[in-house]
């Protein structure tokens, strides 16, 4: 096929017409990162910041462009760490969103590649002395104690419950309903009104399946804005065949 001048003119003119739609974007990509740990206040221990995925998160608000930015949240993982490696560099306000901890003030910081920020948090209640023992072939008895690092102002305790799952990722939103939510115990008391036995409860999980392995923890839920939980550590239970 012979290409005529007019065809070329047409092609070039359409290219010119189309090129006006292209805008050069020379902004840097999301090459910054932020990671960190959640420690129990005054320690370097993450053991008592008992959490699970989705229980609470780190909230970022980029202040470079707007004083009212759209927030983005990084979930805190169940090992007490968090990380986002695809952030835009800039000046951010970093705060804790959710979780059953005494509030800490937001921090402002410049986030660049490799930025780190650790938090020191105090849980409303520490769930200690957690034991889970099989009392017969399919029944599990769970016992734990609650202590308040700070007594005054703990939100009302709404309920407590075991969380049972088949993996180590176990907690609210990651548990088997019939063993977990079905054994929920209503409390509905202020911390100050809870008796010694209220603070040292026993919960029974029955009809576990023989021959299976489960991971178990307990949670105490508060009537705060997020209705969030303090959680115990995790015990592995092997139900005999």
């Amino acid at each position: 096929m012979k290409i005529s001048i007019s065809t070329i003119v047409l092609a070039v003119s359409m290219l010119i017409a189309g090129s006006s739609c292209i805008k050069k974007d020379n902004y840097p990509g999301p090459n910054a990162s932020l990671q960190g740990n959640i420690f129990q206040d005054g320690t370097s221990s993450k053991d008592l910041v008992q959490t699970c995925t989705g229980n609470f998160s780190i909230r970022l608000e980029q202040l470079d462009w707007s004083s009212t930015p759209t927030p983005q949240d990084i979930p805190v993982k169940y090992d007490g760490t968090y990380e986002n490696s695809e952030l835009f560099a800039g000046h951010y306000r970093v705060s804790i969103k959710g979780g059953a901890f005494w509030p800490v003030a937001p921090q402002e910081m410049d986030i660049r590649m490799g930025s780190k920020l650790d938090f020191q948090l105090t849980p409303y209640l520490v769930l200690s002395g957690f034991t889970a023992d099989m009392v017969d072939s399919t029944t599990l008895s769970i016992h734990f104690d609650m202590q308040a690092p700070i007594d005054a102002g703990v939100p009302k305790v709404l309920e407590m419950q075991p969380f049972v799952n088949t993996t180590k990722i176990v907690g609210p939103g990651a548990s088997i309903f019939d063993f977990s939510d079905a054994n929920k115990v209503a409390v509905n008391k202020d911390w100050a009104n809870m008796s010694a036995s209220d603070k040292s409860p026993t919960i029974v999980v029955s009809n576990l399946i023989k021959g299976r392995t489960f991971f178990v923890r307990v949670g105490v839920r508060f009537d705060n804005d997020d209705k969030s939980y303090n959680l115990s550590d995790i015990i592995q239970i092997d139900v005999p065949k």
Binding site: S4, T7, A17, F177, D225, D226, K227
Partner: protein, 624 residues
């Protein structure tokens, strides 16, 4: 054919002209858009204008989708047939296609364009007053106040305080800074709605054509809106999420304002005394309650939205999406169902006793023995189809499966991890050894892992089902023309009774509730029964599936307690083959869904796009 060089050049010139012509501005009035001079010249023009406003009104009718449909929003959707995306199906009134409590964030409803149309109407109509005789202009302005209040009511119950725009805004005549308005306080917004409805009441006529509001619609809406405000003041002060928006009054109303709002609800409701009455045309109370939703002449209807064929048409698919098609045009000629009332809803009318004192399930000869000849409330039977009912000559022969034999108690059976009943995923497979009996029946239940298209709870919705249309072929998608009753007198009585009880006016509440219960075929209550729980339960029963339940459990601030990782239940019918009897077992519904309500959902988040356009809308609602 060989094109000449001239032809090609000509073609290029034409194309160039086409490309460049986009720079020309057309300065001719489009002939298909009506001008103010035409619209405001006579009542026909006004009807055209208002028809558009009514069409866009945020009425939660059959077609409403509480979480929106993609980017289309949730109101007045074009070509919407999936009516099983019902708000009740996301909060335990029913269970359905929502995977859980999936509607808490709404869909970003933000109808300021529509509100502008109403404000424009209010500002423009007086300029053309000479075209209208008598009191017409005054009445129409009153109607506009009603319409504006209706939009703001839909906003207030979602977001709390939003900007109150009373006048038409113009750009570029007004600067961006002027137009970036702040939120108003929630209390002020509810008061503004009340004031608009007072203006409507004062100006509107007593009667109106079907589909348009009269002054009693304004009073009825006011009773609803003020009741909402009262309960938000009272219960929102006890159960709330803290945050900047609350601290600044954009959400939340001081508790001491509750009584005032409740009294306004009562006063507005009383304006309808003697003007409307509960539907009582048929002596049979089941038929009567079913017909109340089908009879366009009902004296109970205060404001309806009509659905109709013809050109243009506006039809819905309620009939084809709430009854079993079973993949074989069983009770409907097309469509499918996917949303089913829960046992919890059914037992609001009274606990169903399907178990003997020793814990074994009661044996029934027929499915219908569950309800026929019992004292089950007529209103319940008119609201929900039970196993053993008939529709269009077809039986709700619902079975989940067949037990070869059955022994032991209901509780033990439901707790078993492995059960012996025979299920089926279709309606043709017969029980082994008995070719006369299909396993699940024509309306029956598929296995949990199977299709969602038949009941998962044992029940189907009856309210608004047009049983009078007996030709199954005519029950298809977009073939239903049953009107939607947006405001009916029973709701007004319930608004009044609830506000009465909240303010200690128990005698008046008793009269209202007993009127409703008499029509429902329920026993009369006494003064001792006049508690918040009783009036709430009555409301949930009377208004079931009418898109009230979700808003009610929100404004009572009990949704986070009711939907605390909640699971809902079914009444599963089974046949015992060796006994030739039916039993019913109460067990988890077979979607096995979890419903969880975060406290922050007591308010929806302001739409992100609007926050980006107008930073003055911050602070957003708490915890978003």
């Amino acid at each position: 054919m060989n094109m000449t060089r001239t032809n090609k050049l000509f073609a290029i010139i034409i194309m160039g002209a086409v490309v460049l012509s986009s720079c020309q501005k057309l300065d001719i009035k489009p002939p298909n858009v009506l001008s103010d001079d035409q619209l405001f010249s006579n009542e026909a023009g006004i009807e055209t204008y208002l028809a558009q406003v009514y069409r866009k009104l945020p009425i939660e009718d059959f077609t409403y989708r509480p979480a929106g449909r993609g980017s289309d929003g949730g109101f007045n959707l074009h070509h919407e047939w999936e009516h099983f995306y019902h708000a009740g199906g996301a909060c335990g009134e029913m269970v359905g296609p929502y995977g859980g409590m999936d509607i808490g964030g709404g869909f970003g409803y933000w109808p300021y364009g529509d509100i502008r149309d109403v404000n424009y109407f209010m500002e423009t109509l007086p300029k053309y007053a000479k075209n209208f005789a008598g009191n017409t202009v005054n009445e129409l302005i009153g109607e506009a106040h009603f319409l504006r209040a209706y939009y703001y009511f839909a906003l207030a119950k979602r977001y709390g305080g939003v900007p109150i725009i009373r006048n038409v805004q113009n750009y570029p005549q007004q600067s961006i800074e002027d137009l970036q308005v702040h939120r108003d306080k929630e209390e002020d917004l509810w008061n503004f709605i009340g004031d608009d409805l007072d203006s409507a009441w004062n100006a509107m006529p007593e009667t109106s054509v079907s589909g348009r509001a009269n002054k009693y619609a304004a009073a009825a809406l006011k009773s609803r809106a003020m009741l909402y405000a009262g309960s938000i003041a009272k219960y929102g002060s006890l159960n709330y999420v803290d945050g900047d928006a609350r601290a600044q009054g954009y959400v939340g109303i001081p508790a001491d304002k509750a009584a005032g709002f409740y009294q306004k609800a009562i006063d507005a409701a009383k304006l309808l005394d003697g003007k409307y009455s509960l539907y009582r045309k048929t002596a049979d109370k089941v038929i009567n309650f079913a017909d109340l939703f089908l009879d366009v002449q009902s004296p109970e209807n205060i404001l309806v939205r009509d659905f109709y064929g013809g050109e243009p048409e506006r039809m819905h698919s309620w009939d084809a999406t709430m009854s079993p098609n079973s993949g074989m045009n069983y009770m409907t000629g097309d469509g499918l169902s996917r949303c089913y009332p829960t046992l919890e809803t059914v037992e609001r009318y009274g606990v169903l006793n399907v178990t003997n004192p020793d814990g074994t399930p009661i044996r029934y000869n027929n499915l219908s023995d569950l309800w026929r000849g019992t004292n089950m409330e007529p209103r319940l039977l008119a609201t929900i189809y039970f196993p053993g009912e008939t529709l269009r000559g077809k039986l709700f022969d619902i079975r989940r499966g067949i037990y070869p034999s059955f022994s032991g108690t209901s509780a033990d059976e439901v707790a078993k991890t492995s059960r012996t009943f025979v299920p089926s995923g279709d309606h043709t497979t017969t029980y082994p050894g008995d070719p006369s009996m299909t396993i699940i029946g024509n309306a029956g239940m598929y296995p949990s892992s199977g299709s969602d298209d038949n009941t998962r709870t044992g029940f189907y919705v009856r309210k608004y089902i047009n049983y009078k249309e007996t030709d199954i072929k005519k029950i298809g998608l977009f073939s239903s023309t049953t009107h939607w009753i947006e405001l009916r007198y029973a709701e007004v009585l319930l608004n009044r009774a609830e506000a009465d009880i909240e303010t200690g006016q128990l005698d008046d509440a008793l009269v209202c509730l007993n009127d409703i219960r008499d029509r429902a075929g329920a026993s009369a209550l006494t003064l001792a029964d006049m508690t918040a729980d009783v009036v709430r339960n009555e409301r949930c029963k009377e208004l079931a599936f009418e898109n009230h339940y979700w808003w009610d459990i929100r404004r009572w601030r009990i949704a986070d307690v009711l939907l605390n990782n909640a699971r809902f239940h079914a009444l599963m019918p089974y046949y015992i083959h060796d006994e030739q009897k039916y039993i019913f077992l109460k067990e988890p519904e077979s979607f096995q869904r979890n419903y969880n309500f975060d406290k922050k959902f007591y308010y929806e988040p302001l739409p992100g796009g609007e926050l980006n356009k107008n930073p003055n809308l911050y602070p957003n609602n708490p915890n978003y």
